[in-house]
Amino acid sequence: MSFLSHLISGISLGSIYAIIALGYTMVYGIAKMLNFAHGDVIMVGAYACFFIASRYELPVVLGVLVAMLVCTLLGVIIERLAYKPLRSASSLAVLITAIGMSYFLQNAAQLMWTSNPKVFRSVVGDKSLKLFGGQLSISAIAIVTVATCIVIMLGLTWFTGRTKMGKAMRACSEDKGAAQLMGINVNATISMTFAIGSALAAIAGVLLCSMYPTLMPTTGSMPGIKAFTAAVFGGIGSIPGAMLGGILLGIIEIFGKAYVSTQLSDAIVFVVLIVILLVKPAGLLGKQVQEKV
């Protein structure tokens, strides 16, 4: 039974990583940049929901919606101010700017909300589902997380596959120049990608803090790094890859904590990542691009 319960908590933690990883992978696919500030957008989303739902005791749904709105705006503004002027610059310059943005968000949060940890009240309460005569208990937040993850996955697959905007996104990630020639507004498409990624980050932030209820200005950074790893693990730029990578990473982390050592769980996650990348250098579902000579 303990195996099953570890598996379930692994899947639900992995679902959060997957939602964050989607933001990384979509932005990477279209803008070819590593958005290091993504982890801190999660933190901002969690704070927004915290103030609405816990401080002012307004309905939770409103909190989640406000968090999504705040993060979407934040993502678009960050893109417009910091990344858009660097569209033609080297990728390393954009990377450093993203790191600067991440520092900025963390320090701004620290000034506004202090570094004291806040206790985040779970958005679904602490109910849990008891199975097998109480031997196996699944917390409500785990169920909600996995369900949200599945909904987001299906929604995004539909969006990128069927809608006009989604097709524009895929076109931009394949070849920006050709997409522009076909009449696609590349800048608007990139902004849209940031908006979707950041809205997902807000959901991830709320779910993450419902599961681990301490909220600090640095809350987002470690899950951010792990989700980024998950995106690479599954093949960066691929949406199903981010999903698979996130969930596998969550399961490995929880199993590592439960069966090997709590101190070494992060090391185990990264060892698995390295082994996978050495065997499949483009990630699990990534496309191996042949280099043209």
Partner: protein, 352 residues
């Protein structure tokens, strides 16, 4: 001085810059014109300068993004300090002990660099970056779980247990105590030793870059396939640059650790790696002198921003973003080159 080649002139001016800076700061320190906080920063500045130069070898000269450079610093710091403490009775003279510690730190970091480099350097681009990040986290985790002690029988190791498992004899001493790190480090680092290490690093890196191997490394950066097709062994030269870079970072780690009384593994985390990368990028990729200047200025910057009090880290972030935007935006660059036409003409700025 008049009829030197441009590259030679650049090398000489870099050495001159470092030496003049050392003499001026040492003079100010002697006459007591430096604030206490800045004096405490002198050795870390030297360590960061060495870190920046060595990372520039990987990122600027070899052209591979590394996000785990602090882990080599960590390996160097811990092995170097263990060496210095356990050799306490054998070598009484402090500076010699520090040099031995640095050599051991550099060796251990070099070995770590080799072990990591062999599998990692097969990958390219962002995948290589994420694997170096992963190795950085792994090394941080492993050192957190490590206990090392010394007694009359020599060094004792234990892993994933407490320091009691070392079973030290009477009079033995625990050096690395798991998550608590190392406490009671003798303060052997001085500004002078830091300065000497910077000079040695400059000498090694500049000579490597100018040598036949250096040209091979840069050829790999510019076009891997072309380099391979003219018969340059890719892996060998990539490893050469990577291991040299790691070993120098190890020496810098020892220097850094011997400046503080306690040191923990979590100090050398992802943020530290990123900080060093920021020095390299702001100083200019492949530009050694730029790294030296950027590392110094950025380390002092929070100190200079003290007037902003609580806002200084925020201002630091904004300065970082603005500098990146202004130096990399195409439109701004053309305006800048029109204002300062001589800069483009003489080919100063960044080395290709």
């Amino acid at each position: 001085m008049l009829k030197m080649q441009k590259s030679t002139r650049k090398t000489v001016s870099t050495y001159a810059l470092v030496i003049v800076a050392f003499v001026v700061v040492q003079g100010l320190a002697m006459s007591g014109n430096i604030s206490a906080t800045l004096r405490g920063q002198l050795v870390p500045i030297c360590a960061y300068v060495v870190m920046a130069i060595s990372l520039n070898l990987t990122v600027g000269v070899l052209g591979e993004l590394s996000l785990g450079h602090a882990s080599f610093m960590s390996v160097g710091a811990f092995s170097g300090v263990v060496a210095c403490i356990s050799l306490q009775n054998m070598i009484a003279f402090g500076p010699v002990r520090l040099v031995v510690g640095m050599v051991i730190g550099a060796l251990c970091a070099g070995i770590a660099g080799f072990l990591i480099g062999v599998p990692v350097l097969r990958l390219n681009g962002d995948y290589l970056a994420i694997v170096t990040l992963a190795f950085g986290e792994i090394i941080k985790n492993l050192i957190t779980c490590l206990c090392v002690g010394v007694d009359s029988r020599g060094l004792r190791f234990s892993f994933l247990t407490s320091a009691d498992a070392l079973k030290l004899e009477e009079g033995g001493r625990v050096i690395i105590n798991g998550p608590m790190g190392i406490a009671g480090i003798p303060k052997l680092s001085t500004f002078t030793t830091g300065f000497v290490l910077v000079l040695v690093t400059l000498f090694i890196v500049m000579n490597l870059v100018k040598s036949r191997s250096g040209r091979a490394i840069m050829a790999i950066r510019d076009n891997r396939i072309a380099a391979e097709s003219v018969g340059i062994p890719i892996t060998k030269y990539k490893l050469m640059a990577f291991v040299t870079s790691a070993a120098l970072a190890g020496a810098a780690g020892t220097l850094y650790a011997m400046n503080f009384s306690t040191i923990v593994a979590t100090k050398f985390n992802f943020n530290t790696s990123i900080l060093i990368l920021v020095y390299v990028v702001l100083g200019g990729l492949g530009n050694i002198r730029g790294s030296v200047i950027a590392a110094t200025v950025i380390t002092i910057l929070p100190e200079m921003l003290r007037g902003f009090n609580d806002y200084r880290m925020l201002v630091y972030a904004i300065v970082l973003i603005i500098v990146m935007l202004t130096t990399n935006n195409a439109r701004f660059k053309t305006i800048l080159s029109r204002l300062i036409p001589s800069k483009k003409a003489t080919g100063e700025g960044r080395q290709p």
